[in-house]
């Protein structure tokens, strides 16, 4: 395996493990605090994000979504 490929794989593993840990934290938080626990993981949950949510899915064309 080339170094570049190895680095790529390591990056993927690291990204997966980070998502796994965050998912575990979110599970524990809902179990321990109910949905109120989400405020410990996401800032400004009670803000106006829902009102401003757009359907756009193109990340590059619609970064403000």
């Amino acid at each position: 395996m080339t170094t570049q490929l190895k680095n790529q794989q390591e990056k993927k593993i690291s990204k997966a493990m980070q998502a796994l840990e965050r998912a575990r934290a979110l599970n524990r938080s809902r179990r321990d605090f109910g949905v109120d626990g989400i405020c410990r993981h996401v800032r400004d949950v009670d803000g106006d994000w829902l009102e401003n949510w757009s359907e756009g899915v193109s990340v590059s064309l619609n970064p403000e979504a």
Binding site: Q9, K12, I13, A16, L26, R31, H41, L50, S58, V59
Partner: protein, 232 residues
């Protein structure tokens, strides 16, 4: 800490990233995105429900997509880090959720936006999960499994056999339709092992309910839907 804007951006990225490798996942995430966009007026509590659901889905999808793109050897390495309940979730239930039709989605989407989900179960589930862990087992409780799959928690005991558990109070369980609805939901998702546990939280301590689930995880047959009631 993330921001809602970052979660939205991650969701968008996941929709694009999964388009070719997992089009069904992409479609399901687009569907979620559209549903949220159509519900503009947000009450405080519903925002927390929706954000909890979204934040979890983003992590599940990220993990799933990354693992799918790994070599077999690396995939085995990562999957070995998961608990039995997590393995069942990521390898079976989560893909089923985005690949299959979700017959309960209309109901849970309406309930979520109307904030019709009470908080009464929260402390019970917390105590029950802890009791299972103290006994040497474990649990995983994805929000979407609760909403779509009638599963409050995925439990396992010392034999590491997973069990999908629906908790209900004794009074609720008297309603026969609740049990048959639970059974048909599990059948739909092809969940092989389920426990419908009704108990009286006033008379039965959560430790005992946890102990019961732990024992059932080890003792029930590999394929069964079982109903248990703990009133005393």
């Amino acid at each position: 800490m993330s921001t809602p804007k970052e979660i939205k951006s991650q969701l968008n990225q996941l929709i694009l990233d999964s388009q070719t490798t997992a089009p069904k996942l992409s479609e399901r995430l687009v569907e979620m995105n559209r549903w949220i966009a159509q519900k503009k007026n947000g009450l405080l509590m519903r925002k927390r429900h929706v954000m909890q659901l979204l934040a979890e889905l983003v992590e599940y999808a990220t993990f799933w997509l990354e693992v799918e793109s790994l070599s077999l050897q690396d995939k085995d390495f990562v999957l070995a880090q998961l608990s039995p309940a997590e393995q069942y979730w990521y390898q079976y239930l989560f893909p089923a959720w985005f690949n299959e039709r979700d017959p309960k989605s209309i109901v849970w989407k309406q309930k979520l936006m109307a904030d019709e989900f009470g908080k009464s179960d929260d402390t019970l589930i917390k105590g029950i999960c802890r009791a299972i862990e103290v006994n040497g087992g474990g649990t995983f409780n994805p929000y979407i499994a609760d909403l779509s799959m009638a599963t409050d928690l995925i439990a396992f005991g010392t034999k590491e056999l997973v069990l999908c558990v629906q908790l209900t109070t004794v009074r609720d369980s008297l309603c026969a339709s609740k049990y048959s609805e639970w059974e048909s939901t599990l059948k739909h998702w092809q969940i092989l092992r389920g426990l419908f546990l009704s108990f009286n939280p006033v008379r039965v301590k959560v430790d005992r309910a946890g102990q019961c689930i732990f024992q059932c995880s080890d003792q029930l047959p590999r394929e069964c839907y079982r109903r248990k009631s703990m009133d005393l």
